[in-house]
């Protein structure tokens, strides 16, 4: 059920999100992890609410998430994560160590540039329309498998994984990995036996409160279970 229009409580950021959107899922994890109370404003992508004039003013790319915080309007999950990192430094999502920091950015970027944009809703519709109906299904699988292979190799190679992707603390890489792995398992039915490190990380994320509260079916606009 979409949240009613109302005045945001003073000082609380407002997150425009769709329950199933992987990019919105990242922003929700980051906000929860940093203990930031926020107002959830649902944008129903299937009904095309991302094209509403009011939302277009917030994000001309017509993507969720968008974060409104006082007079800051940010329509990109990566930019949102780094904004939150500056504004709410504790707990931190980026390590000081330059190698680990770079590794976090690499992993986040493989997800945000190398996997998700190649299988988001608008792209899949475009592929089905222009290339061939149903092409999008195997296409999605290929993109995820290619990206997961790269990340699995990177994690194994760098050897910094601990409880989480780059150590024993949740970091930026985890914020980006968790929604991608969740969607791959739940929606694309990827065989995670090829990606043991990612499969293990998924179990860790599912046990962490900040990640649990960010899950799609826990959001205000998730359909009620039948």
């Amino acid at each position: 059920m979409a949240e009613m229009e109302g005045t945001a409580k003073a000082g609380r950021p407002r997150l425009y999100s769709y329950w199933r959107s992987s990019c919105s899922h990242r922003a929700r994890i980051a906000l929860n992890f940093k203990g930031v109370e926020y107002e959830y404003k649902a944008v129903n992508l299937l009904k095309g609410e991302q094209s509403d004039p009011e939302f277009l003013k917030l994000n001309p790319m017509k993507f969720v998430p968008a974060l409104v915080d006082d007079d800051a309007v940010i329509g990109d999950s990566y930019a949102i994560a780094l904004y939150l990192e500056d504004k709410y430094p504790s707990p931190p999502l980026l390590p000081q160590d330059p190698k680990k920091k770079a590794l976090n950015h690499q992993i986040a970027n493989i997800v945000s540039s190398g996997i998700q944009p190649l299988h988001n809703l608008t792209v899949l519709r475009f592929i089905d329309q222009k290339i061939g109906a149903g092409e999008s299904v195997s296409w999605t699988q290929q993109q995820i498998e290619r990206g997961f292979t790269a990340i699995e190799n990177l994690i194994q190679l760098k050897g910094c994984a601990g409880k989480y992707a780059t150590g024993d603390e949740v970091q930026l890489a985890d914020v980006f990995l968790a929604p991608q792995i969740f969607a791959a398992i739940e929606r694309t039915k990827i065989d995670m036996s090829n990606y043991p490190a990612l499969a293990r990380l998924h179990d860790e994320y599912m046990g962490h409160p900040a990640f649990q509260a960010a899950l799609p079916d826990r959001q205000l606009d998730a359909p009620s279970s039948t």
Binding site: M61, A79, Q106, V123, I131, L157
Partner: protein, 212 residues
């Protein structure tokens, strides 16, 4: 003992590599250019097992991904900062950079590879590329609406400019994009072409570019 120069594994025509070349030039970092084709170069996997370009090797650190490299350079080489301190302007720079590197270039790459592999016709490939460039450029024009500064987010070149120019360049030179539809970006492109760091990073000026 002299510190070894950082090495950039890249290719002249790679849009992602173009971004990093600009960043390195702006920051005055003297680097070694190594041309590589990850699809055909078997030794590259030993340097960068995930086989993406560009990759920067700086001492014992190996980083691939143009945004990760840019943010690493921002920390290590503070000359000519690419990100403003102001959180709103910083976020705008990151948003514009991400529109390019997540919402335009990967789809462009997909269509270019599709054509190369024979999975799609040249018309289909071009249509896809133009569709995504147009969508991204129209959004960026709206985000920059009213921009009167010399560059995208101010009078200094910042991260958004580093990511915008390679995309505009590819649009003009490879994908028949009509820049008159994007007046702010067209103006910015002209401004970038006045800057030596941008000139030196152009694909045609790289050691592995084909001679005309």
């Amino acid at each position: 003992m002299a510190t070894a120069k950082p090495i950039l594994y890249n290719a002249w025509i790679s849009s992602c590599s173009h971004r990093v070349r600009i960043a390195l030039n702006l920051k005055g970092v003297d680097y070694e250019y190594r041309s590589v084709n990850p699809l055909t170069d078997p030794d590259y996997e030993k340097i960068n097992p995930i086989k993406y370009i560009p990759a920067l090797v700086d001492g014992d650190i190996v980083i691939s991904d143009s945004l990760a490299i840019s943010l690493y350079l921002e920390d290590k080489y503070p000359a000519h900062p690419l990100l403003p301190k102001d959180l709103k302007r910083k976020a705008l720079n990151l948003q514009i950079a991400n529109i390019v590197c997540s919402s335009i270039q990967p789809l462009q790459g997909y269509a270019v590879i599709g054509l190369h592999k024979g999975n799609m016709s040249s018309d289909q490939s071009l249509q896809i590329v133009q569709h995504y460039i147009d969508k991204g450029f129209r959004a960026i024009e709206k985000l920059l609406d009213g921009c009167e500064s010399k560059y995208a987010t101010g009078d200094d070149v910042q991260l958004s400019d580093v990511f915008l120019e390679p995309q505009i360049h590819a649009g003009i030179n490879r994908f028949q994009i009509d820049m008159s539809k994007y007046p702010i970006l067209a103006r910015l492109h002209d401004a970038y072409m006045e800057i030596p760091a941008f000139q030196a990073a152009l694909p045609k000026n790289q050691p592995d570019a084909p001679s005309s």
